[in-house]
Amino acid sequence: MPFSAQPPASGERYALSASLDNARHLSSLLRAVHFQDHATCLATASGLRVTVEDAKCIQANAFIQAEIFQEFSVQEESVMFRISLSVLLDCLTIFGTSSVPGTSTALRMCYRGYGYPLMLFLEEGGVVTVCKINTQEPDELLDFDFCSTKVVNKIILQSEGLREAFAELDMTSEVLQITMSPDKPYFRLSTFGNAGSAHLDYPRDSDLMEAFHCNQTQTNRYKISLLKPSTKALALSCKVSIRTDAQGFLSLQYMIRNEDGQICFVEYYCCPDENITEAEL
């Protein structure tokens, strides 16, 4: 549904200006990384990246490519600002969160530049809402320096196999231990909670396993409270890639197909837990 009300005044140049026919393409992805109140947005010619961090240990990024938008223009090389993700999501879903087929909220986003608020124009069924959200100085973001050349172990799994596991993780355990190995148990998720330990094993020949490239046996522990929010991204995704590097840093990349069949990505990076004690098996 093309957006027709309140076009920006001609002659004004916006650092960022974008239009999206279905705001859900953006809001559902942002929800998958919404575990902190604030996020840093980076807009470049290739699209929009929204980053959320916590405890200097975990970082989540939601990528919405420029091609997803009906219109996407960035005046400078890149535009970056910090914004309340909670407020942004509330605005994007101002007409409600239930997805009735056939109706969608149209979005127009404008950002004049440093110091200006982010303007959102949302329209559904002829009703228009205008939102102005204050922006802040962007934070310095963590650089996990995770590149494909440094990857030691990599697995690609169909998300349906992990969804239930993540939803039912024993939260009385402080850590989630991930074992990846060319030998048994191949891929194992373990928790050590009040009731005892629990292990979830995925064999390399499971039909859920799309790719299995493990070169070395690695066992790493991550704080479960930091990884639990990734369950939202997992729920939306159809595939997930799990990679670790030599230092035990974890990269989770989720491939998400939106309502129109377009592909977007969400990724989570996590540092291993430093307090390593003997694993209970």
Partner: protein, 363 residues
């Protein structure tokens, strides 16, 4: 079983795997015996004549946590392997799921004494057998918060169910529901006329749901008020018993003022309250317990308003029976509040010995 107690007792025997639970006031006991044929594989560890049968208990919540969502379990789990590893102190539950995925849970357990209620269905004067559905449909008429219900036998072989109102004075203010079931609704009726028993409905509902789901007929064995009522389900591979204490009759006591309101432990000076203190389930480590002493009187504790929560009751001494570490071959029986006996009641529970050494376990 989780409706009864917080701990699940496991006892693998030659006749099958027995799962049991008891409530904190020892007024309800349930056991499920799964015959070896129920399983695809049933292997007992090496047990010589001298080796003790291994028993343990685990926290009910931990165990249930393994089988969290039943509908998805049915779709995704092919096999469940249960291993009891005494040396590692672990109960291993391994679920083999679809896509080759294996879920292994290692639960900590505690060794424990044998948990067994003493009861003898042969000695019960009355017996009823009905399809679970009939009883479920009857029970549905009572409010979910109702604590106790009275089952009675009436003229013409009819069976009545009535909610129990503890205080005579309150009768006029509370809604009383009574329903009658004709003899032909039951598969068999062999009852002593004019008998009635009052038991806790909450604990019974759990068994009833199970019986309905498994489509098994339920048999009710009962006797005089005060003696336990035993509900049984029988199948080729499963034997279920639920033993509930019943309210003892108070004909010899005059009506007492309502003491039920607040306190869990009845005031000692009150005769009415004395009769209703609960007795400990007699525990015996010898086999064939039911052939031995007569069943202890099993009076129900003072009924309380709907939100009764047996778990909160402080009967510290009662915990002694299941104290781990009590020497296994010691045969012991403890009945507390030995001075408490309904006057005029015949014989049972004359064994009032309280074995002082067991009070070591008192916390």
């Amino acid at each position: 079983l989780s409706r009864i107690g917080d701990e699940l007792y496991l006892e693998p025997t030659e006749s099958g795997l027995s799962l049991r639970a008891v409530n904190s006031s020892r007024s309800a006991f349930a056991s499920f015996l799964f015959a070896p044929l129920f399983f695809q594989l049933y292997e007992l560890g090496s047990t010589g004549p001298d080796t003790e049968v291994f028993r343990c208990k685990v926290h009910m919540k931990s165990f249930l946590g393994v089988f969290r969502s039943l509908p998805s379990l049915e779709k995704s789990v092919g096999k469940c392997l249960i291993l009891l590893k005494p040396r590692a102190s672990r109960l291993v539950l391994q679920l083999h799921c679809k896509h080759g995925v294996t879920k292994t849970h290692n639960l900590a357990f505690q060794e424990c004494e044998r948990l067994q209620a003493v009861f003898d269905t042969q000695r019960c004067a009355s017996r009823l057998c009905a399809p679970a559905r009939v009883l479920a449909e009857a029970v549905v008429h009572f409010p979910p918060t109702l604590a106790e219900v009275t089952l009675g036998t009436g003229p013409g072989g009819k069976i009545s169910l009535r909610n129990y109102v503890e205080d005579e004075a309150e009768q006029s203010k509370t809604m009383v529901t009574e329903l009658w079931l004709a003899e032909d609704e039951f598969q068999s009726v062999a009852v002593a006329p004019g008998s009635h028993i009052t038991f806790c409905l909450k604990e019974f509902r759990g068994l009833l749901s199970f019986a309905e789901a498994s489509n098994l007929p339920l048999t009710i064995h009962f006797d005089e008020p005060g003696r336990p009522v035993v509900f049984t389900l029988d199948d080729t591979v499963l034997e279920v018993h639920l033993v509930l204490a019943t309210l003892s009759d108070l004909e010899s006591n005059s009506q007492s003022p309502s003491t039920n309101g607040v306190s869990h432990l009845p005031a000692p000076s009150d005769d009415f309250a004395d009769d209703l203190e609960s007795y400990m389930v007699a525990m015996e480590t010898s086999e064939g317990g039911s052939g031995g002493p007569p069943s202890p009187t099993f009076p129900l504790r003072t009924p309380r308003p709907a939100e009764s929560d047996p778990e909160e009751e402080e009967e510290e001494e009662e915990e002694e029976g299941a104290v781990p570490g009590t020497p296994p071959h010691k045969k012991f029986r403890s009945l507390f509040f030995g001075s408490v006996m309904t006057p005029g009641r015949p014989g049972p529970a004359t064994t009032q010995e309280v074995l002082a050494e067991d009070s070591d376990g008192e916390c």
